[in-house]
């Protein structure tokens, strides 16, 4: 079994705070993967709000948030177990993030020893 990180991206910061229904859908999706015993790490949410997000660049340049140049921002990640990247992609397809215009990047994890 390989591990794949699913990285969630959103376009609109207003979508970051989910409604109770959205929360329930997300939990159902996550628990559905855990129920297959394929959740390697339930991951974390990454706060995009001012005061919680900075980007550090060369020459000591620090900007607020990740969103000055790129529109999209990363909202969180989980790590799943799958035989192939296709299987991981299938898991990602069930996530409700697409309903609010978000996207998911699937990346195989190469473990540091």
């Amino acid at each position: 079994m390989k591990e794949f990180a699913l990285i969630f991206r959103l376009n609109n910061i207003a979508d970051f705070k989910p409604s109770p229904e959205q929360m329930q859908e997300r939990m159902n999706w996550l628990a559905g993967i855990a129920a297959q015993n394929k959740l390697a790490d339930k991951g974390n949410t990454l706060l995009p709000v001012p005061g919680s997000a900075r980007t550090v660049k060369p020459d000591n340049i620090v900007t607020d948030g990740p969103y000055t140049e790129i529109k999209e921002f990363i909202s969180g990640y989980v790590v799943v177990r799958a035989e192939t990247i296709e299987e991981a992609v299938e898991m990602a397809k069930g996530n409700p993030i697409f309903k609010i215009g978000g996207n998911i990047e699937v990346r195989e994890v190469l473990k540091r020893d």
Binding site: Q24, M27, N28, L30, A31, G32, A34, A35, Q36, N37, L39, K42
Partner: protein
């Protein structure tokens, strides 16, 4: 005279189960774990004497007190005997460091049993071995009864117990003065073992209803001891006890007079024990008085919702709790139960695709669940899944229940064809 003889025969096995484990715990605490065999011999001798004496003279007015007096005298005799040997042989290494005075009072019994629970739950032993040991030492089960619980050969159990008891004797566990450090280091194992002991009864492989009830009520009694001691009265123990109370409240409703399992939805709710449900509520409130959420909290929460009448959001709550539970710890049973709750909220059709993803093809419950979900959608598939479940289950009662369901579906199918 005859009446007395009958009553002593009825009373003794019951008393044996109840008092034997208490007696050995107190004696063990007195003599030290290394000498557990001596403690057990004294307790056995005491019961042997009781069965002889009571058969002739009738049951004494206070049987338990009678037993403890005899046990105490036997222990004293044993210590006297040892002192003589020790003075003759100064180099005796296995000295029993015990005072000659001790009492079988309630406090000492409870403290000793609590210490014994922690002694038995030694992480050096495998989980299976811990459970066997607990059944023998804390429950007072015989080898045959333990074998019956596991559907294993007595010889296998004997070997398992032999290794576990060697570890128990050689463990430097301070049974006399149970301290905070030892409690902290073993509390998780203790809770887990008690949880498994209870489940062994609740989801038992054995069809013997009485053994199952015994397994459950003893696990609850031992957990109650934890909640009664300041050092062990943690939130998790309260949550576990709440879970046990809720589950126990349905024990009588779960099987019919023939010992066949009755599905939750078909249970006669008037058979649910309301006192136990209220006790469950009491301990759950105690458990939730903080921020900690353990798997016992979540399972108790689920069991709580099962005891409530059909609240319209009931299954939503249950599904959410299962979602949290499966994130804490994966188990095939949790995965299947979660899918059942999912079906209750989102319908059988959506749940079928959730269920198929689980891919637990070796589990009879997996096929049972799919059979259930397909019942209204595709009778042939439902029958097919139920048949596979029958092939996989070892329980006779379950085979019967499933066969009945298949019959019902076949009849329904026949009627449908007839209508067309």
């Amino acid at each position: 005279m005859q009446e007395k003889a009958i009553s002593h025969k009825e009373l003794l096995p019951h008393l044996f189960r109840q008092e034997y484990t208490k007696m050995t715990a107190v004696l063990c605490r007195h003599f030290g774990l290394k000498h557990i065999e001596i403690a057990e011999d004294i307790a056995s001798d005491t019961f042997l004497k009781a069965s002889e004496n009571w058969a002739l003279n009738g049951v004494p007015e206070n049987p338990a007190a009678w037993l403890y007096t005899v046990a105490k005298n036997k222990a004293k005799d044993h210590l006297k005997h040892l002192t003589i040997i020790e003075t003759q042989n100064e180099t005796a290494t296995d000295k029993i460091q015990a005072e000659h005075n001790f009492e079988f009072n309630n406090q000492n019994i409870t403290d000793s049993q609590l210490a014994m629970i922690f002694a038995v739950c030694n992480p050096a032993n495998s989980t299976e071995a811990q459970i066997c040991l607990a059944l023998q030492i804390l429950y007072g089960f015989s080898l045959e009864e333990i074998a019956n619980v596991f559907l294993a050969k007595t010889e296998t159990i004997k070997k398992r117990l032999h290794r576990a008891r060697t570890n128990l004797r050689n463990d430097n566990f301070q049974i006399r003065n149970l301290n905070e450090n030892e409690i902290q280091s073993r509390l998780d194992t203790v809770l887990r073992t008690l949880y498994l002991l209870f489940n062994e009864g609740y989801f038992s492989k054995t069809n013997n209803h009485l053994i199952r009830k015994d397994l459950c009520s003893e696990a609850a009694r031992l957990t109650l001891i934890l909640t009664e001691n300041q050092l062990t009265n943690v939130k998790q123990a309260n949550a576990l006890l709440a879970l046990m109370c809720y589950q126990s409240s349905r024990l009588d409703a779960r099987t019919n007079t023939k010992g066949e399992a009755i599905l939750f939805e078909q249970q006669d709710k008037s058979l649910w024990d309301k006192t136990l449900i209220e006790k469950g509520n009491f301990y759950l409130v105690n458990a939730c008085n903080g921020t900690e959420i353990s798997k016992y909290h979540l399972e108790a929460g689920i069991a709580y919702w099962h005891t409530t009448p059909a609240d319209q959001n009931k299954w939503q709550h249950i599904l959410q709790l299962y979602n949290q539970l499966i994130l804490i710890e994966y188990s095939p049973v949790t995965a299947l139960n979660r899918t059942f709750a999912f079906a209750k909220v989102y319908g059988n059709k959506q749940a079928i695709s959730e269920a198929e993803k689980l891919n637990l093809t070796e589990s009879n419950y997996y096929h049972e669940l799919l059979g259930y979900l397909y019942t209204e959608i595709n009778i042939d598939k439902a029958i097919n899944y139920y048949e596979r479940a029958i092939g996989l289950t070892k329980s006779r009662a379950e085979k019967q229940t499933l066969a009945k369901e298949i019959e019902r579906l076949k009849e329904k199918k026949g009627v449908n064809r007839h209508k067309r």
